[in-house]
């Protein structure tokens, strides 16, 4: 029998769909589609094209992910060739979603995360977009890199702030200054997930490379992972396991051997600050503004997508940028007052503290093993509650970051948030109950740390009060200018537990 496969063959290696499966809360979705948007950069024409797909195939709902992708659910396999064809014409590909396989195989380079204010942020050290473009072009659909032991995550930060969560990527380029030179240092082996050896912050390599050398470093690093990553055990297959067992020194030696040249040492600072790009900020281009629209949880309807695209056409330059905190930037805005007014009318007010821009939730309703309320609902609920309970000044001073994950896989990066919530189900009598483990004090930026498990099994119904009490005590007991994260790291776990037991504010 001869089988016509040309129409399928053209999409292999560049397009796939992933598995949705929540045995507890059945959504009716069997598959998600994760559209890679390199660096989150896209035009309004592309965004409208995706909105159209969302309307036709995704029940009118899209999700901006923490890797600057756009994710859709309820995708039917029989619709995929039409979807892939449209995506191809729009210039997009997808994650390859090979992790459904049982072994350590079919991993790919995931959407490369890049500073969402590249080229427009004031006092930028380096624009990461040339590196983003060259790496995306090299890895996308490249058969040599479609059978890595597991997925491989790359980030590029050019602005001096940790806006890409560099510490939980496999390979993170961070722009730095060395004397008169500007280039990248890089970190390796980070990951928030529980796969062995557990959550790890990426380790600094202590190396400086010129901008045009970074491409070769990235390709050589992925080749090292491909050749030496563990293929015996899926649990040990992420790059962090190789870095943990080798150590950074051995990796750097292997990298130099592969590159064929000696790497320059770097012992300067990595990040200048932690957060960046919240709210409305003046750009490096005189008279232009960068308007960051906080989505809180990252969900958008088709109509909202179309309305945001219209705003970007009318008041901006027809460009949009997805952020690694599940929000969306309208760059190059000239008449910002009009944009803010229209956004407020659409349900996206931009006033208040920076909390709205610094919170995330994973899509646990589709892939977790937990029941409602799910991560995205929890993050919206907690943010709204804190904003109604505390002043903007307090929340701003706290510099609070809240991440919520539905399960231990921690797709919501709870381990690097000031307040990280990781959901699970526990048995109580004959019933299963939805609870969250609470981690405190995690952060990226100049002084990175993983959050500490402070309380286990907090019922969902008690989460808001638990956090409110802790924040109330922070308000009463903090040192001058002390952020919430610093406050948490100053206190022992048993002290923090006590501080969740009520406070006046």
């Amino acid at each position: 029998m001869k089988l016509f496969v040309d129409d399928i063959e053209r999409f292999l290696g560049r397009y796939s769909i992933g598995r949705d499966s929540n045995p507890i809360d059945v959504t009716g979705s069997l598959h998600f589609l994760r559209i890679k948007v390199p660096g989150g950069l896209l035009t309004t024409e592309q965004f409208r094209g995706i909105a159209d797909l969302v309307g036709r195939y995704g029940r009118e709902r899209a999700e901006v992910t923490d890797r600057q992708d756009i994710q859709m659910h309820w995708i039917q396999a029989e619709d995929t060739l039409d979807i892939f064809s449209t995506m191809e014409s729009l210039g997009f590909t997808t994650d390859m979603c090979g992790q459904g396989f049982s072994g350590a195989k079919y991993g790919d380079v995931r959407n490369i995360v890049c500073c969402p204010a590249s080229g427009i942020v004031k006092e930028e050290i380096l624009d990461g977009r040339p590196l983003l473009t060259s790496l995306t072009g090299h890895f996308s659909g490249n058969q040599d890199f479609l059978d890595l032991p597991r997925k491989f995550k790359i980030s590029i930060s050019g602005c001096g702030a940790d806006c890409t969560r560099a510490y939980i990527n496999d390979l993170s380029f961070v722009a730095v200054r060395m004397g008169e030179d500007r280039g990248f240092t890089f970190l390796v082996g980070g990951s928030a997930g529980v796969s062995l050896p557990g959550p790890r912050l990426a380790k600094p390599t202590g190396v400086f490379v010129k901008p045009d050398e970074a491409f070769d470093v990235a390709v050589a690093t992925v080749e090292i992972y491909k050749d030496h990553g563990n293929r015996e055990s899926k649990a040990k297959a992420r790059f962090k396991w190789l870095i943990e067992t080798w150590g950074v020194s051995k990796y750097v030696v292997a990298l130099e051997e592969k590159l064929g040249w000696a790497l320059e040492r770097y012992d300067g600072p990595i990040f200048e600050r932690r957060n960046a790009h919240e709210g409305v900020q003046p750009q490096s281009q005189e008279g232009s503004w960068c308007v960051n629209v906080p989505l809180v949880g990252g969900r958008l309807s088709r109509r909202e997508m179309e309305a945001i695209a219209s705003l970007a056409d009318e008041y901006g330059s027809g460009e949009l940028r997805l952020t690694p905190t599940q929000s969306i930037i309208i760059p190059n805005v000239k008449r910002k007052a009009m944009v803010l007014k229209r956004l407020a009318r659409m349900g996206f007010p931009l006033h208040g503290s920076s909390l709205r821009w610094n919170c995330m939730g994973c899509a646990s309703d589709f892939c977790g093993k937990t029941s409602s309320p799910h991560a995205k609902e929890v993050v919206v609920d907690v943010v709204n509650h804190l904003e109604s309970s505390f002043s903007d000044e307090l929340l701003e001073g706290a510099g609070l970051r809240i991440h919520v994950s539905g399960c231990f896989n921690d797709c919501g990066a709870a381990s690097v948030a000031d307040i990280g919530l990781i959901g699970k189900q526990i048995r109580e009598g004959d019933e299963m109950k939805q609870v969250y483990n609470v981690f405190l004090g995690g952060c990226g930026g100049p002084e990175p740390s993983l959050g500490r498990l402070v309380e286990e099994n907090v019922p969902t119904s008690e989460l808001k009060q638990w956090i409110e009490s802790l924040l109330g005590n922070y308000d009463k007991r903090r040192k001058p200018l002390e952020s919430f994260g610093e406050f948490c790291r100053r206190h022992a776990t048993h002290e923090l537990k006590t501080l969740t037991k009520g406070a006046e504010h």
Binding site: V5, S16, R19, A77, G100, F101, S102
Partner: protein, 92 residues
């Protein structure tokens, strides 16, 4: 991009009314699309045996086959990392 030779869906005629397709190594949605395409080319009561190692596809193929009116006669592990799904075609 072309399917690598070892990845090409291998269709084998076992006997007059029995075929086998090997879709191991392919991610979703391709195993399901290929299986449905083969079924559309078979005669009523023909047998198609599917070898698949992608767990989501092993879940989805029996459902899609059933929804299309064909019969899944058996689903079993062929080894530690793969499944064999036996389907009988049915023409309305």
């Amino acid at each position: 991009m072309k399917i690598a030779q070892e990845q090409r869906p291998h269709i084998r005629k076992i006997n007059e009314h029995c075929y086998e397709i090997d879709v191991r190594g392919l991610v979703c949605p391709y195993p399901q699309l290929l299986v449905m395409r083969v079924l559309a080319n078979l005669s009523s009561d023909d047998i198609l045996e599917v070898l698949v190692d992608n767990p989501p596809s092993a879940r989805d193929i029996p459902k899609a086959v059933g929804d299309s009116g064909h019969r899944v006669l058996d689903t079993s592990r062929s080894d530690a990392s793969a499944w064999r799904i036996v389907i009988q075609t049915e023409r309305q």
